[in-house]
Every structure is written in C-alpha cells, then in structure tokens.
C-alpha cells in the first residue's frame, strides 16, 4: 500500500486547491523556508487523525488550520489522501468547517461519512498506528536527543 495522491484545499498556507501525485519509492519535498513543506506533513497527520499529544499541528484549535490570508477566512479546510493498495483504492478525507458559533470536523471513507474510530481500524490493519512512529516531524530528532532516559524508556512501554 502507498499514498498515491494528497489533495489539499484551504488547509494552512494552501489557500488554493492543490494536488500532489506521489509514487512508491523515495520522494523528496523541497523549497524555501516558509513555503509550506511542513504543512504538507501536517496535512497527512490531520487527514488521518494521527495528531496526539506528541504529534501537534502547531495550531491552538482546529479552526486555526483553515487558510486565512489577507483577512479572508473561508469556511472549510479539506484534505483527501488516496492510497493505492494492490489494484484497489482507499480514499480517506477530512473536513473542518467553521460557522459563526462553532466548528465541525468530519471524516470520510471512500466518499461516505465515517467516524475516527472506523478510520483507525482500517489504518491499523495496514500498519498505520495512532502513535505515528512512521512520521518524524521537524524538531523530533532534537526532542529525542534531549529526552531524559526515563522518557526514552517510556517509548518501549508504549510499544509493548
């Protein structure tokens, strides 16, 4: 299984819809400081619901993830990830919608609304866990180096 495409709309600095086709193998994302590279990694964590205390999205609350440029803050941020699994496709999408009084977050599995739990069940079957050890965010290497030996041991407790 691998990620075939990531589609980002109105999420963080991606104010216009953007499609990112990806191959199996080794892809590098590059570009100047502040161009939006880490926001692509954040979009994967957001879409799959992998943000836990250790994987933060650098936002205080979900609505901060909606693109807000030059004062305009539109209502909905959306990220869709299309996985290719043999000859089948698995599409997972997530939307955050803001109204004057509240905000809502919806998950979709192959186009139909689903709960975060259902999504996690499918992902865990394929080896993607909520502890997200497969994603190393900017600064994680430094955080591991500066952990106390006790905190490092807790990593083993989590995995066990």
């Amino acid at each position: 299984m691998h990620i075939k495409r990531i589609t980002i709309k109105n999420f963080k600095s991606f104010g216009k819809k953007v499609d990112i086709p990806l191959d199996r193998g080794f892809t590098v994302i590059s570009g100047p400081n502040g161009s939006g590279k880490s926001n692509i990694i954040d979009s994967i964590i957001f879409c799959l619901g992998l943000h836990t205390s250790s994987k933060i999205l650098r936002a205080e609350k979900l609505p901060d993830l909606i693109y807000s440029g030059n004062g305009r803050k539109t209502g909905t941020a959306e990220v869709e990830i299309v996985f290719e699994n043999g000859d089948e496709e698995l599409r997972i999408a997530r939307r955050v919608k803001i109204t004057d009084r509240n905000y809502y977050s919806y998950y979709y599995l192959n186009g139909k609304s689903a709960s975060h739990g259902e999504i996690m069940k499918i992902l865990e079957r394929e080896g993607i866990y909520s502890d997200a050890y497969n994603i190393v965010m900017q600064g994680d290497v430094t955080r591991i180096v500066e952990m106390t030996p006790f905190q490092r041991r807790k990593i083993i407790d989590d995995i066990a």
């Binding site: 590098v28 939006g36 497969n134 180096v145």
Partner: protein, 154 residues
Amino acid sequence: KREKFFEVFNALNQNFREIIRNLANGEGELYLDNPEDPFNSGLYMRVRPYGKQVQRLEQMSGGEKSLVALALIFAIQRYKPAPFYAFDEVDMFLDGVNVARLARMIKELSSQAQFIVVSLRKPMLEEADAIVGVTMGRDNISQVTGIRKASMIQ
C-alpha cells in the same frame, strides 16, 4: 507485562545495533540502568563511532547525537513496519557525508515502503526518485511545482 517489555527491548536493541553499523559505521547498543526493575529505569545508548572509543550520548557532538536518535527511530520503525514514512528535515545536523549515507539508506528502504522526505540538502535530492517543489506565491498561498526526477533523466 515484563515479558512483553523485554521482547520489545531485545528486538529494538538488535535493530539498533544493525542500523548504527549501517548508518554510522560504528557499534551501538541500548541498555537499562536497572534491568532488574525495568519500569523504574532509564534507557541509555552506548555507541562507539568508527575508530573512536565508546561514548555516552551527552559527550557526543551535535551531528553524532542526531545519527544516534535517527538509529533509534529506524529501530522502532523496523519493529513496527508501516506502508509509508514521512520525515521532516531529519538531516539538518549532518555534514555532507552523513547526509549522503542517510539518503542511501532511505533509498534502500524505499524498495519496501514509501518514503516522503522534506529536505533542503543536495545529497537527499540526488538520491530521490521524484522531487516535489513547493513555493510561496505572491498572494501568500503555497503552490506545488512537481518534478518527475526519474523521467527527467530519460
């Protein structure tokens, strides 16, 4: 519970040893300061970089420490394999030679799983199968310019 802990610990230790040999051409091991009572001990790393003596993490240089942290991350990933991996500028402390070594290792691993790596460093760009360029437009909106590296060479 204790049994499961040691199963994980021993597997990670074995992985860590192999990866340190591959990534830093050295010898490494994980150890607990109080193995009798694992849930009250700390996890330490002892590494002998190539040609040097055994060092504790605190004494090492910035680049050496980050290689050890990467080896621990890879050791965990080998224990719990995933279909894709995403790394965000994990190579920033490394000199050119170590970035190239890390890039080659990722290239090898990318035959078994997908790797999406954010990097500014040349040796990483050179090993990649494809490069996705990201820029910030005048309108303050991120844009993506795709480059298919493999087809570029053809």
